[in-house]
């Protein structure tokens, strides 16, 4: 289970609201490579994992991603505060506003609501870890693209923090993939599926 800590992982303090920026940053909440999908992906994959260290890492990173989606939502919230109708129409925020007012709803920048198709739980440790590695890289590219488009230090600072976390997670998942293949038949990693087959090596090497 989870306990809530009443703080952000990294502070968000944006002085100037900007609904244009809010509309692109929201993709890291409800978009295809956003933090909501990241958290659901890892917390979902845990159940079929055969090794304790991988269960632990998916639990810990999946939990950290919940803190990241809270940071992204805080950014969207602060960027859409105290808007005038003129600003709403001029920035193109009107199309979001008509359905959600200034509520924070999980959609992609291109307006598609969050979908479970963004994540995968293949039930095969090698396939799932590759999915996770790709997901971290795609999230990193999304942050890179946001950093190209945004020109406000109050936003760039936390975005750079989140971008760095993607790289750290990629590194950790890479290590887990190596530890996983080390436990399997070096001549044929795919001889069995340790997430399902009983005859696969289940041994946990500390």
């Amino acid at each position: 289970m989870w306990q809530y800590e009443k703080k952000l992982q990294y502070p968000i303090n944006i002085k100037n609201p900007n609904p244009k920026y809010a509309q692109i940053i929201i993709s890291q909440y409800g978009g295809p490579d956003g933090e909501l999908g990241a958290s659901m992906r890892y917390l979902t994959q845990r159940y079929s994992m055969p090794y304790n260290d991988v269960k632990g890492m998916l639990t810990d990173i999946g939990t950290e991603e919940l803190a990241h989606l809270e940071m992204i939502c805080a950014m969207v919230y602060q960027l859409t505060k105290n808007l005038s109708y003129e600003e709403i129409i001029k920035s193109g925020f009107d199309k979001y506003f008509v359905d959600h007012t200034a509520g924070v709803y999980p959609i992609a920048a291109s307006s598609t609501p969050w979908r479970a198709e963004y994540i995968a739980a293949k039930g095969d440790i090698i396939a799932d870890l590759h999915e996770d590695l790709a997901a971290e890289q795609k999230a990193r590219v999304t942050y890179d693209n946001l950093l190209r488009l945004i020109d406000d230090p109050d936003i760039l600072d936390p975005l750079k923090f989140l971008r760095e976390r993607e790289i750290v997670h990629y590194q950790r998942f890479g290590e887990m993939l190596k530890k996983t293949t080390d436990r399997l038949d070096s001549k044929n990693f795919y001889a069995c599926n340790p997430s399902f087959d009983k005859n696969c090596p289940k041994g946990f090497i500390k």
Partner: protein
């Protein structure tokens, strides 16, 4: 249920009571009876965990509780979604 399972069960029950009071006090912040109950349950939880620790070692609930001398024990199974973890807990 053995003594270890009984103590774990008691901690789970106290956790649940504290969560219920947490929600109730969010909408009824001036309720003195609920505040007193919260104090009582928090103290009982602390004492039960101390008893558990003396008899059976750490009651691990977060990474922060794992002693620095055994950091790897965080990843030891069983994990909460496995049957072995829950065996005997709800009898």
């Amino acid at each position: 249920m053995n003594d270890k399972q009984k103590l774990r069960r008691k901690i789970w029950e106290l956790d649940f009571a504290i969560k219920e009071l947490n929600l109730f006090l969010d909408s009824n912040p001036d309720n003195q009876k609920a505040l007193r109950m919260l104090d009582t349950y928090r103290l009982a939880r602390k004492n039960t965990i101390t008893t558990y620790k003396m008899k059976y070692g750490d009651y691990i609930c977060t990474f922060d509780d794992v002693p620095a001398t055994a950091p790897l024990s965080w990843i030891d199974g069983p994990w909460p979604w496995e049957r072995e973890f829950n065996e005997g807990e709800n009898k």
